[in-house]
Symmetry: C2
Subunit: 159 residues, 2 copies
Amino acid sequence: MTDNTRARNILGLTGWVLLCFAAAASGAMFKPGAWYAALNKPAWNPPAWVFGPVWTTLYLMMAVAAWLVWRRGGFAAQRRALGWFLAQLALNAAWTPLFFGLHRPGLAFAEILLLAAAIAATIRAFWPVHRVAAGLLAPYLAWVGFAAVLNGTLWRLNP
Amino acid sequence: MTDNTRARNILGLTGWVLLCFAAAASGAMFKPGAWYAALNKPAWNPPAWVFGPVWTTLYLMMAVAAWLVWRRGGFAAQRRALGWFLAQLALNAAWTPLFFGLHRPGLAFAEILLLAAAIAATIRAFWPVHRVAAGLLAPYLAWVGFAAVLNGTLWRLNP
């Protein structure tokens, strides 16, 4: 690996981490607050402290996955795969403003179903390019599936 | 204005500009390329060089608008207005990956209609908080309306 390639790789990884954390930032701005505390919750609702570490880990895995695919020829070669990735990232960024910003669990539920579909499409697009990258997104899809069930339950329990 | 307030204001404006340009970055990664060049276009399709300066201006106006509303009590006081703003910003970030990443003008058209609706909702939420902030988003809504018509036309002309 030449010094130039190494520099480009490190810069690329930094860029993907920054982009994923920008999406995270759009969500981190809303605090659950009194509204969330007052919601009727299912018994299996995880404690609030779980979400921060889980999401931080998932955003990092996401950034690494996108970077691994991007290294195989950049946007020119991986247009479709990275297109799905960025589309799912935007849908990811939209969820917290809908749920915790607007207090609209129904709208957020419709949106998280689209997000889960977009993550599945991203994994399918990553798979032929880089198996490890596709695998890195599996825990993310599993967590969003769980989050969707939780969101749907909170919507049903708080009409 | 104390030095502390001034520092907080400048930091806040910087944050909003960075967040809006992160959304722009998610779009700037895809080049129109040969696919776009080969599309059948209407006579009134603007030349390609128009889009860069227009979007840069609109993202800056967007950042200032959000900042003006945010200054009125932060996320705690402006939860709903800033919730709509961040939701429309995420929808904005999703459009380029769908159109230029996936080459799916139909999907992108459905998405840009949602975006226009979310911008209208943001303006309505900004209006009672800060008239100038609401006004700063009017050219953006007009441009996205035009972009939606263009997107729909490109979809129809290239089935």
